[in-house]
Symmetry: C2
Subunit: 252 residues, 2 copies
């Protein structure tokens, strides 16, 4: 089911990653080439399959090429929750370059392709190119900002606002990644996956989505989530894209 191929034709995903870095960091053409020369094994993962377990020591970061990857936490009795999501162009676990023992795990949120980028390659880039180092630092800063926002939302917002917020976040992030148009954002995602990433039961998520549907903010056709009213949805969520570190590119 999960298929691994050689890393020869991975250029497009790294191009994607480079475009991401260029949004906030200036890189010389040499540095850009260096990014594009990165390589790594590609894994094709079915939705739900694990990428790395918690308490694992890893030697790679994980570049999302397609689909959505989840960072998760779990209790001793196996209940899981999603603590972050990563969209195409995101490099998951840049922290692990210096801290290779993970407390979290990664799994395929949807079916996805992931490139295993060796820490060694990244370390070399960081050592040789200060601008790349700064770019990766910024990526980590954005990751941290998102994580803090999730914690805040968990404490401050109810199930409906939290759900609306994560939908807005994914819309903007995938839009920024060039994968979707924000106003016509559509996401193929199961209710149980969504529930896990907002800290709700599937059953309650079902009722939350019904409410969002009744308010004409989203529609759900054949497991496809579509934003029908961005203004209304982002207002309900109190969504402000500033924390995504995109420097006003999506000020609405």
């Amino acid at each position: 089911m999960n298929h691994v191929t050689d890393g020869d034709f991975v250029s497009p995903p790294f191009r994607h990653f480079l475009a991401r870095l260029l949004k906030h960091s200036e890189l010389t053409s040499k540095e850009q080439e260096a990014i594009l020369r990165l390589s790594g094994q590609v894994a094709h993962l079915a939705a739900g399959s694990d990428i790395v377990g918690p308490n694992t020591t890893i030697a790679h970061a994980h570049l999302v090429a397609q689909g959505i990857v989840a960072r998760f936490d779990e209790t001793k009795d196996g209940r899981r929750t999603v603590t972050s999501l990563f969209v195409p162009g995101d490099m998951c676990g840049l922290q692990s370059i210096e801290c290779p023992m993970t407390s979290w795990g990664l799994s395929a949120f949807t079916a996805c392709n992931v490139i295993y980028v060796p820490h060694d390659q990244l370390r070399t880039l960081i050592d040789l190119h200060p601008a790349i180092r700064r770019g990766l630092w910024t990526e980590m800063a954005i990751d941290a900002s998102i994580q803090a926002k999730w914690t805040g939302n968990a404490f401050l917002k109810n199930s409906v606002a939290r759900t609306a917020h994560i939908i807005c976040e994914l819309a903007v992030r995938m839009n920024s990644a060039g994968n979707a148009n924000r106003t016509k954002f559509a996401l193929k995602i199961s209710q149980s996956s969504l529930a896990q990433s907002v800290g709700l039961t599937v059953i309650h998520m079902n009722r939350v989505l019904r409410e969002l549907r009744e308010k004409e903010l989203v529609s759900t056709d054949s497991r496809m989530l579509v934003i029908k009213d961005w203004q209304g949805l982002s207002k309900l969520a109190e969504f402000d894209a500033a924390y995504l570190g995109l420097a006003g590119h999506f000020s609405s």
Copy 2:
């Protein structure tokens, strides 16, 4: 009330910070001296006062010299919640070195002393000393790991377990910082502050603490929280210090 003095006698806090870095990173004596040559204005802050507001562009990181600092998030109508805590020796907001626009705010959780360390100084250290850069990177990784754990706890654990967990976390972190003995950990903290950092109302926090008291896990005398039964408390919390990145120094 908040008093700022010149940065001449700040050596002890930076010694503390250095000791923190040495827990996970090897630094030459030159590098250690470079850390100790850092400087910055010292602010003495009353509990509850703001350090930086959300959506501010900053030019400093904030080294906690004494007391506890909170990273917070707030809604438009002013309700606040704490998303992270920082204990003495922590450098808050290392991310801001490359991403100076904060989406979060910082405030004094307890009365505390904070040193404003200019980004410039940190950037210079990072550029000159790869080992220091790696040390700071590791600090950010730990920060991220803690933040992810908080998100997970918010979704997975009920009020009692979450409260127990944060008490355990603070005990270990302050212990690691050399401020307290874990088994005799005591913290002067109001119930409302604690409530804000676990996402509960004060009233419910009161009942949670009563439960922890009735189970003989903690005691609360004159606003001082004391751990009476570390084993029981950490078991109830499902606390595993691995996520604090202390590499087994506190394996229990």
